[in-house]
């Protein structure tokens, strides 16, 4: 039956409305929907978060208080204040420290995998790095709480080990795998003839990497770092468990802080739906969404820049 149909099909008959044509169109439509679904979800989420937080934006919201006051007291009997400065400082300090931890680790691993390791070693390392990315964040949080906390108290002789240092290290280890993968891609994208040329000039391996490969891969590496920053801003569970959850603008790495994401996670569950507190939490969510969106956008543009060049 099928053979017959195929045999009967001439080149000029390809546009005929037979079963294959319909299957082709259906699959096309499904793939198209799949392709744009991410965009639909993003817009849907953005609209939802904005809608939930809208009452706050037109009501109790004051731009100056929201962004420049450290007073987060949404349930105060006197006067509820909604300042997120301390929370932003908390998130930023933890993410900043995380990058200090993650950049040397991930860059070192990426250089080793891309430039030195060969054969089985390389495959094994790549798989292990990917495995590291699969550890759930609550497990990282548990490590922060149960292992890092007493360790920090012992080593640095501080009263509480749940602080910027703890969360920064944990978050750095969490962000390192994805940064390693992207950085490795960037290094692989540097054409071999660059290396060959440098070697022909008598450069050592270190000189090749330091003087030729790294500058050529610079945009891709920057993109990797920015993606890591985006990961840091959005991480919730590990940060909630390891920071100590105290509203505080940190002056040292041993201060406890509170992150934007952790505040939403800790308070949303028991807040009356539709109250200003509830809406303020959604406005925080919105701010986070916009921040990570901008960071990812910049990262994407930067990475794209290197591919064209």
């Amino acid at each position: 039956m099928k053979k017959q149909t195929l045999a009967a099909t001439k080149v000029s008959d390809f546009d005929r409305l037979n079963r294959d044509w319909y299957i082709d169109k259906t699959v096309q439509a499904l793939v198209f929907i799949g392709g744009i679904s991410a965009i639909i979800f993003i817009i849907g989420i953005f609209v939802f978060i904005t809608k939930e937080g809208f009452g706050f934006l037109v009501g109790d919201f004051s731009f100056k208080e929201f962004f420049f006051s450290p007073n987060w007291r949404p349930t105060s009997e006197n006067r509820a204040t909604y300042g997120i400065l301390a929370l932003v400082a908390g998130t930023a300090s933890v993410t900043g420290l995380a990058m200090l931890v993650a950049i040397p680790f991930s860059l070192g691993t990426a250089i080793f995998i891309a430039e030195f390791a060969t054969g089985k070693t390389r495959e094994f390392l790549k798989i292990t790095v990917e495995l590291l990315a699969a550890i759930p964040s609550v497990v990282w949080g548990f490590i922060g709480l149960a292992i890092m906390n007493p360790l920090i108290i012992d080593i640095f002789d501080v009263p509480v080990g749940l602080n910027v240092l703890n969360a920064g290290i944990i978050l750095g280890l969490m962000a390192a795998p994805i940064m390693t993968s992207i950085a490795e891609d960037a290094l692989k994208a540097v054409p071999d003839r660059y290396r060959e040329a440098a070697e022909a000039m008598g450069a050592t391996r270190w000189q090749v990497i330091y003087k030729v490969v790294l500058p050529a891969a610079k945009n891709g590496l920057l993109g990797a770092v920015l993606l890591g920053v985006g990961r840091g801003f959005g991480e919730t569970m590990a940060v909630l468990m390891a920071t100590g959850h105290a509203i505080n603008i940190p002056t040292s790495v041993f201060d406890s802080v509170r992150a934007l994401t952790a505040t939403i996670a800790a308070e949303l569950g028991e807040t009356a739906v539709g109250s200003p507190h509830y809406q303020a939490l959604f406005t925080i969510g919105n701010s986070l969404f916009i921040i990570t969106f901008i960071i990812n956008l910049i990262a994407d543009l930067v990475v794209r820049g290197v591919r064209k060049g």
């Binding site: 349930t75 105060s76 009997e77 002789d157 009263p159 509480v160 959850h245 105290a246 800790a266 507190h277």
Partner: protein
């Protein structure tokens, strides 16, 4: 545990319904009891135990929070509402507008203990001092401000432990200790009484507050005085129920009008020695001094 209790109540309900049916037309009354999650375990224990007292009365208990119970009383769908806070004026007015007359019964007390590390030499703390530690604009930041040196706490800086800002314990502590004031920023806000106790237990510099029911033997419970230098009261079931302990919150049951009939009988039994011994077994203070043996 909660689920099992609920199951037991359900089984008890069915069994007693069956017995009532076999008993030949004996009337079976159901008391609807709803509200506070703090009280729900106690309420279920009462309901279970009451089966042996009066098998013709069945108590159906559910939680949902004080607000839920009070709302149900306003709507007239429950006989007894449980609450870990007093009804607000607005709520009483709403109930009266609907033709209901809420009557308050104190069925027990929940004492909030101020927890210290076991090495902390401090024994007594006053409400004023607590306000200086916890309040916005408070001046105490180091243990030396209170005249003590805590061994193992390097620079004597207090680690102030509090609760997340929508907890009932947080709200009660704020109202009682800080009055109209706010908490200061920078307290470590734990998500649950157990977390507070754990942190204080492991941190020499720490101070925290939580229900007395969470006390462990590795913690020190501060003796609380109303004024600095005044006589202090240790937190205990006895001092909470006689009202001498200053930060104990009453636990309420609300009925619509003065309870009569089987509801009245049930409440009388709760306030009796048997009922009050059950609440003290659950870690709360009874409303009246009792001798449970």
């Amino acid at each position: 545990m909660l689920k099992r209790n609920a199951l037991l109540v359900a089984v008890a309900t069915m069994v007693s319904a069956l017995l009532a049916a076999c008993g030949g037309g004996q009337d079976r009354q159901v008391i609807q009891n709803k509200g506070s999650d703090t009280l729900v375990n106690v309420a279920q224990a009462w309901a279970e135990a009451y089966q042996t007292v009066d098998s013709a009365t069945v108590v159906a208990v559910s939680g949902g929070g004080s607000g839920t119970g009070i709302a149900a009383l306003i709507n007239g769908t429950v006989d007894i509402a449980n609450a870990s806070r007093a009804m607000k004026d607005k709520e009483i007015k709403l109930a009266k507008d609907g033709g209901h007359n809420p009557i308050q019964h104190i069925v027990g007390y929940d004492a909030l203990a101020v927890y210290l590390h076991e090495d902390n030499p401090l024994n007594t703390i006053s409400i004023e001092q607590l306000a200086e530690i916890y309040g916005d604009g408070g001046t105490y930041a180091k243990w030396t401000d209170l005249g003590v040196e805590v061994p193992g706490c390097k620079d004597q800086t207090m680690v102030v432990v509090s609760r997340q800002n929508n907890s009932g314990t947080y709200a009660y502590f704020r109202q009682t200790v800080l009055g109209k004031g706010d908490f200061r920023l920078g307290t470590r806000d734990m998500h649950g009484s157990k977390d507070v106790v754990d942190l204080v237990e492991n941190t020499p510099c720490a101070i925290g507050y939580s229900g007395l029911a969470y006390a462990t033997e590795h913690l020190k419970l501060a003796c609380i005085s109303a004024e600095t230098g005044g006589a202090c009261v240790d937190p205990s079931v006895a001092t909470a129920s006689d009202g001498s302990y200053p930060i104990a919150r009453p636990l309420f049951m609300y009925t619509n009008g003065e309870p009569t009939g089987y509801v009245g009988k049930y409440l009388d039994w709760i306030k009796s020695e048997t009922g009050q011994c059950i609440i003290s077994e659950k870690g709360y203070a009874p409303a009246v001094p009792v001798n449970c043996g």
